[in-house]
Amino acid sequence: MKKYIQDLQVVNKMILSKEYYLLELSSNQPLPEVLPGQFAEVEITGSDTTFLRRPLSVHDVDYDKNTISFLVQIVGKATKHLANIEVGKTLNVIFPLGKGFELINNSENALLIGGGCGIAPLLYLARHLKKQGVKVSTLIGVRRSSQLIELDNYKKYGEVLITTEDGSEGTKGYVVNHPVFENLKQFKKIYTCGPEVMMKAIAKRANEAGVDCEVSLENMMACGIGACLCCVTETTEGNKCVCTEGPVFNIHNLKWQI
């Protein structure tokens, strides 16, 4: 897929919580096709200490409005800095990058599991799956209920299940403690994004249940376009760049000890 480098304009910024915000950016050219699971490399200007671009998953694309949106969690200097950008300003963005999720077909069931900011790529995925006729269940795991954001958006595409570590909403515990894990075989496929330890626990369960499973990795990236070889993950075929061969991998291709 052809990659673009464009100055996109911030047309909307929504502070969702102390930690999360959403940026909606518009292009002055028609947006190219973007697949669910793909990401972008965003230039961070005006931050004293950020040097490299930052990878962000495509959260949603609205072709009618010609906008692309990102859901960002504040974890460090760049994500904090970006939270202060004003509507009207532009961001230089390289996109769409990487390979997305492999969609399944008609009238099958898919379980989408997002941990923390890992829900970012799942919205756009859910939209595509629903369009394909897939029945989508989205399981969202957070520490405490105040971290639950955008539930209504996810509900548009199917049921939303919740776990919180402190039990303040939904099932208490980690995502794998949710009852849905007792009947994983109902799903044709599991798609997940979040902390690696969470994804590994899910992969193990999916593996045991014999359910196909794709994970979206968030390895440290310098270039995002396959040029630096910094972002590799070990696969059955050796080290592969997460930015070009991923960020989505089928767990059977990874060398995870599960």
């Binding site: 990659k3 950020t50 270039c223 040029a227 070889l229 910094c230 972002c231 590799v232 070990e234 080290n239």
Partner: protein, 303 residues
């Protein structure tokens, strides 16, 4: 439009802007962003005799105005390059130069010999300065006898233009540059990365799997400029300068300090179009200062 042509020994480049090894893949990765035919040269990934998986992840850390990498020469080996990659990239109207690495002298020699047979590879860059591999690599670049052994051996089998890439992790880079000149290198390129380290204070662990890695980016520009200047005042062969070049002004600084051509590395990650901007910017600078050829800039620092 000024004259941007430069000569690296017998090799003529249509302009003095090359891409640095390991930061530009095989060029193809940037085809969506720029016209690769406009580049003076493309120095492809570090290539070794045999396939290498490189180091374990994590391989990267951001640092103030720079980054550390610990890629460790991941590549599929020279035979794979010749068979699968060369045919795809040889048509670029830009000098394709292969960066050659090894752990023992014999590997360098064997790799260079194989590359010597390729029509469209006018030069190789001998990487005697990679800080990210345990054996060989930097060891050759940090002592005169080490440098001598690999350069002289490769010179014997490689008739093309031989560029030797120097390590900055030395007490006196001039000594190594002189060895390269004496052993018949056509040019020297400098600098490779400075050996550095990053620590995560919260996890109390090193950021890189290898603990230490190679520092690149604007942070190292002052060191690179100093070394280019020192080497320019000590050897006669052309110098290809690099280290932290982000824009045309940086490139001009390297020319003034003694570089005949420059390479752009880390900057490609931040702006994949930077190379073209530098070419255009150098041209604009020359026109504005009424300088006919970029060659006039080399070493023209007024001191």
């Amino acid at each position: 439009m000024a004259d941007l042509k430069v000569n690296i020994g017998r090799l003529e480049l249509k302009n003095p802007v090359l891409t640095a090894s390991g930061t530009f893949g095989y060029g193809e990765e940037f085809a969506d962003f720029i016209d690769l035919n406009r580049l003076g040269g493309i120095i492809v990934k570090g290539t070794t005799l045999h396939h290498r998986e490189g180091n374990a992840y994590p391989r990267m850390a951001e640092t103030p105005s720079g980054m550390l990498n610990a890629v460790g020469l991941q590549n599929k080996g020279v035979d794979y390059f010749i068979e699968h990659i060369y045919p795809r990239i040889k048509h670029y109207d830009s000098a394709i130069i292969v960066n050659v690495s090894g752990s023992i002298v014999e590997d360098y020699v064997a790799t260079a010999e194989k590359l010597a047979s390729l029509d469209k590879i006018p030069a190789i860059e001998l990487n005697i300065s990679c800080p990210n591999v345990k054996e060989g690599g930097m060891a050759f670049g940090t002592s005169c006898p080490g440098a001598k052994s690999v350069i002289s051996a490769v010179r014997k089998v490689y008739p093309g233009s031989l560029m030797v890439k120097l390590s900055p992790n030395v007490t006196n880079i001039v000594d190594i540059a002189k060895v390269a000149e004496d052993e018949g290198a056509d040019s020297v390129s400098l600098i490779n990365t400075l050996l550095g380290m990053a620590v995560n204070a919260e996890t109390r662990r090193p950021v890189l799997s290898t603990i230490t890695g190679g520092l690149s980016g604007p942070a190292i520009k002052p060191v690179a400029l100093r070394m280019v200047w020192q080497v320019y005042n000590a050897v006669k062969i052309p110098i290809i300068g690099l280290g932290g070049i982000m824009n045309a002004t940086d490139a001009i600084e390297f020319f003034l300090a003694g570089a005949t051509a420059i390479q752009i590395g880390t900057a490609n990650f931040i702006d994949p179009q930077v190379t073209i901007k530098v070419i255009d910017g150098v041209n604009e600078y020359l026109d504005r200062h009424n300088i006919k050829s970029v060659k006039e800039l080399t070493g023209s620092l007024i001191v």
